[in-house]
Amino acid sequence: SAVISQKPSRDICQRGTSLTIQCQVDSQVTMMFWYRQQPGQSLTLIATANQGSEATYESGFVIDKFPISRPNLTFSTLTVSNMSPEDSSIYLCSGSGTSGPTDTQYFGPGTRLTVL
């Protein structure tokens, strides 16, 4: 299994500012993903972070709002840009390897973001 850490664990930000969240995996993983979990809700996939190329975004999420980088196989960042209170959420990253036909995704502890 992969152990995933995220920084920061929580932050309180002013509207109109941006926050970059870091995700570090303790071993190389093939796939990395970013999710959003709004209060009391389940997880919604934002995008797949692709190494060396642009991320693949899900419907309703755009690169200008959520730019993602993945410079190598163990690290990714998600930026939440021009924040509004509606962006208050928990942001989670996950990673999966190549251990079998269906790869388990392991999750980080999440970043709790509050936008005032």
Partner: protein, 108 residues
């Protein structure tokens, strides 16, 4: 479009009172069905993967089963430390689609 529905949304049990959580799904080309446990303020913790109908997996007081349309997470003689939100997710391609979760509360 892949859909995952979990029921009930919330479940209160007394310690030792066994029960089951349900996960109904519709997906094109199921590659796997996953169960996760999520404690407040933490990320989801992997429990099980089921790949085909008829498959069962067990871990301590938990047992997961899979049919072509749904999965069950059976909890036998639960303890207060089993209190958490249990999430079900289906995988088609590389992405997971999550259900809304079942919030389980076990009272001593």
């Amino acid at each position: 479009e892949d859909q995952v529905t979990q029921s009930p949304e919330a479940l209160r049990l007394q310690e030792g009172e066994s029960s089951s959580l349900n996960c109904s799904y519709t997906v094109s080309g199921l590659r796997g069905l996953f169960w996760y446990r999520q404690d407040p303020g933490k990320g989801p913790e992997f429990l099980f993967t089921l790949y085909s109908a008829g498959e069962e997996k067990e871990k301590e007081r938990l047992k997961a089963t899979l049919t072509k349309k749904e999965s069950f997470l059976h909890i036998t003689a639960p303890k207060p430390e089993d209190s958490a939100t249990y999430l079900c997710a289906v995988q088609a391609g590389n992405m997971l689609t999550f259900g809304g979760g079942t919030r389980l509360m076990v009272k001593p």
